[in-house]
Symmetry: none
Amino acid sequence: MSDQTAPVSLEEFNHRLAEISETMPKRLRQCAEFVAQNTDRIAVSTVAELSIGAGVQPSAFMRFCQLMGFSGFSEMQKMFRETYAQKWPDYATRLDNLRATGDDSPSALLAEFVEAGRLSLENLASTVDLKTLEKAVDVLAAAPMIHVVGFRRAFPVASYLSYAFEKMDIAAVLHDGVGNLNPRNAIRTGDVVIAITFAPYSQETIDLAAYAHDIGSQVVAISDALSGPMRKTDALMLSVSEVDVGAFRALSATISLAIALAVSVGAKRDKLAHGK
Amino acid sequence: MSDQTAPVSLEEFNHRLAEISETMPKRLRQCAEFVAQNTDRIAVSTVAELSIGAGVQPSAFMRFCQLMGFSGFSEMQKMFRETYAQKWPDYATRLDNLRATGDDSPSALLAEFVEAGRLSLENLASTVDLKTLEKAVDVLAAAPMIHVVGFRRAFPVASYLSYAFEKMDIAAVLHDGVGNLNPRNAIRTGDVVIAITFAPYSQETIDLAAYAHDIGSQVVAISDALSGPMRKTDALMLSVSEVDVGAFRALSATISLAIALAVSVGAKRDKLAHGK
DNA sequence: GATAAAACAGAATAAATATTCCATTTATGG
DNA sequence: CCATAAATGGAATATTTATTCTGTTTTATC
């Protein structure tokens, strides 16, 4: 009947969960997975509900509780109900709690980034130019090949775009600058370039966009200001203003915009491929 | 028997409570006072417990619930439980609905990603393990060299971490898999590895973390579940649960956590270098 | 201070929920 | 491939918990 020691805190619980979930049989591992991902529901749910969530029988869930060191579900739930009160307060309060731990403590910093990200997202929703976005989707959906370029701070965005395109089987290439090869030769007329750059704008990105424009390729730009250096490329400009924390920013809004763009392109291509 | 309208939100509940508690008889007012002061316990307590807390009989508490507009205690508790469990929308079906109504426009998708990002960030604020975060910062601040590894979906996070470290003049190397070189030889005892991976976990990342652990290096892991495959490396586990939109996620929370980690390490190093 | 109405406590009952048990299936070692 | 053990599903049972009911007490009204 499992070890005699039942966890008495969330940390102990998580530790034990991680420790034994490796060696669990199938159904019990399902429970472990579900519980790990939905810890907060335990305090307010019944065995029946949780076992449905985990996709197992109630009796299996009971066995899981016992493996975790409790006498049964009730005892396990009791632990979660006792530690429940602290988690209750709303987002604003929790943020204050994080901040209260000292000025440049990790948690205070995290709070700043979280808040900055949230603000950026809200801002994005209200300021993005939908017409341009739709146009960009149309152009990209029709492109034989998509080139993604972005360095330094923009590189994570560029790489995530490439990942998304790859996952959707869309022909795209990430120009990552490895080997200092000249990427121009890969761009053919008709291809579309997604150029991502923020101030201080990186010259390579601007150059590549300019080149693409010269040879008659359409450019979609993701940047932090409408009046950036990409203007002369006739690019479809998607501008995102991200809230900074000190010298850094969290990229939440930019990445959200990028992934929405990519998925939209995927959806559009599906539509074009199947009926009309 | 009270108004026919039961409160459906915390606000409505509090409003109604304030409204009618004036005119309540003695015992029921005791209930009202206790509930006002212990709102957070309702979701996780039984009638018996609450009535003891309020100093009344269970039957009195039942009458209180009915006065508040509910059919009984269970219905009232249900409201609190639902309010608490932040209902993460099921975006898979939500997207299906969007498609069904023909509205999978880029703007609709963008709205979904923005919303998902917001939820993820708010959730991050309340679930991050501060102790582990601080420990990770300490370890990284003391590391002679930081190795960052993460592929596929985790690669943008890894690259952004590297960018941040580089900007702060912190010795860090991004293992990007270019050239299929074996990255192990670069890791020396004492170095610290930041391994980022999400389900389905990439074998290279796990292997590298395991190797680092074997040669006595500390591992900091950023993942989506506590009980991930990184367990046996004794890693400092930072887990982030991100809300998916269909098959994709916006990475908002993960990137925010990563950048907060990096900046914290920078701050800590400054402190170690100058003061103390 | 008498009377009616409302409020109450406590016990009895009903409903929901956890837990156990056992037959059946699935994995494991020889 | 067989024998044995482990794991599982589903239903039966036990326990907890909510809810209702009734006799009694308090409170308000005249």
